[in-house]
Amino acid sequence: MTETRIPKTQVEFQAGPESENGAGSEATAANVPPAISEVRRFLLSRGNSSLADGGFRWLMVICALSIFAIVVLIGTVLVRSSELTRAKFGFKFFFDQMWDPVNGNFGALPFIYGTLVTSLLALLIAVPLALGLAIFLTEMSPKFLRGPLAFITELLAAIPSIIYGLWAVFVLVPLMRDHVNPILIRFFGWTTLFSGDNLGLGFLTSGVILAVMILPIISSLTREVMTAVPHSQREAVLALGATRWEMIRVGVLRNARIGIVGSIILGLGRAFGETMAVTMVIGNTPEIHKSLLATGNTMASVIANEFSEAADDLHLSALIEIGLALFIVTIIINAIARLLVWAVTSGAPARVN
């Protein structure tokens, strides 16, 4: 469309002065003063600006394309640097639970397990909280509370990961060790989910700190999709004699559910990739335990921990392959989540007024 339009306007602009003024615009302007004003002459002298327009356009295209380039570049580097382990272990790499750098044996299963367990724990804790917060903010909060509460929630997202880690080490770990874990062991010890040494470190503590970190993203996106549900839907439910909770359930949550699922998945994606805080409290042992109080390790943490001390190429390659797996999984998760959120906030499904 734009391609065909631009030349047409160029022609019109060039035809203008020539047909009116003939060859020399200066001379004719003197003979017939009212025909062409000062302003018009100035504007005509500007040409068709195609160079500036085209230049600007290409600059922006390059900026946009550089995003793709970065993604491709990262992907390529990860793929090429992990060649060693991919050749040696193949797909077995992801199902082997032996991680033994000294003897050159590498299996990523303990880290995949650790990442899954901590992230799912985080979701389990964060999702109900985030939903409750979003419902309160969009449907029930008095106006004067809405701004500050939303602001503080967003602020949580801005705190650097390392600060969360420090807080976890000095506050959360002792709290879990001395107060929370003993209760869990006493009442739920029989499930064997809470058994073994109580160090305060491990899967559960990591899950809790991750929950705090993904709470803001889930709650703010949920709030966004809930706000996008038209007011008429709420009125429709209310007019049928619904209580406030029924109105929220049928009129709001039901319409926003795809987007809410999207925001939860996005939170999951963040939990997967979160490194620093988890590294500080998970214990960093490449082991698989059923007990949530046991120490373990995650994909992101093992890279952070061992990258600088990886002695040989195989070890390095193994770490990079874990990075590659994490990269692919988080990209896919984020893409799915964004699509779901987009479907509610700007797509068709919930947009019936």
């Binding site: 439910v237 049928l240 004699g241 039901r254 019936v352």
Partner: protein, 252 residues
């Protein structure tokens, strides 16, 4: 069966705006009553006071008495109870897009915990027949979503949804103003059919519509009710000069 509505000294505010001033009005049972008037005259606010939807806006306020049958709705009942007895159809069709046609109609009953499946099937069919939509959707009741219907069908679905809870009063806030002429005439036929069973209050911009469907008509202007009388009288021989000016198209 419908019941009458008795409104005494009704005043309503939106923030500092006094949108309804001293409305006194008796709406007869089992008839259609039309409310006409220019935009912003308070007629929509008035119907929203009858099912206590007005107060769902935090800055809104109401004083005065509204009796539906024997019930003083602002004294003797909670909003939830009132809205179960008074159905409402809005200006723009608002079916639930994530529900099937069937579930849309059954939503009012399911919401209140009604779970007799066979009875539900019957009620859904009856409501859809009453809203003249049954023939068009009966084969895809549980397959199609409420949002997949056309605008006119959606509005009739909303009417069916309101009828399914067997209301005593049906409020319609410009139910046809977002619809094409064919759909509009279907809705009007529907009002004609339904008014023997329900007390219908219809807000409309369209004076011909009021003349076609309603026994009584009230004319609102600037938050006051200027005149309330039989539709015939309002449109042929209004007693107030402002009513005459409005219906003859001199303003509004």
């Amino acid at each position: 069966m419908g019941v009458g509505i008795e409104v005494t000294n009704l005043n309503a505010w939106y923030g500092a705006t006094h949108t309804l001033q001293d409305i006194n009005l008796n709406i007869p049972p089992n008839q259609a009553t039309a409310l006409i008037g220019p935009s912003g005259c308070g007629k929509s606010t008035f119907v929203r006071c009858i099912n206590r939807m007005h107060e769902t806006n935090p800055i809104a306020r109401v004083t005065g008495t509204v009796r539906i049958g024997d019930l003083d709705i602002y004294e003797d009942a909670k909003p939830v109870e009132i809205r179960r007895r008074v159905g409402m159809v809005f200006q723009r069709p608002n079916p639930f897009p994530t529900m099937s046609i069937y579930d849309n109609v059954a939503s009012g009953l399911k919401l209140n915990g009604y779970s007799n499946r066979r009875a539900l099937d019957e009620i859904v069919e009856k409501s859809l027949r009453n809203s003249a939509l049954w023939e068009e959707v009966k084969d895809e009741l549980k397959k199609k979503s409420g949002a997949s219907l056309s605008g006119g069908q959606q509005q009739r679905l909303c009417i069916a949804r309101a009828l399914a809870v067997d209301p005593e009063v049906l409020l319609m806030d410009e139910p046809a103003s977002a619809l094409d002429p064919v759909s509009t005439s279907k809705i009007e036929d529907l009002i004609f059919e339904l008014k023997s069973q329900y007390t219908i209050v219809i807000v409309t911009h369209n004076m011909q519509q009021a003349a076609r469907v309603a026994e009584k008509t009230g004319f609102f202007l600037n938050g006051r009710m200027v005149e309330f009388d039989s539709t015939h009288k309002i449109f042929t021989n209004p007693s107030d000069k402002r009513t005459e000016d409005y219906i003859t198209g001199r303003f509004g």
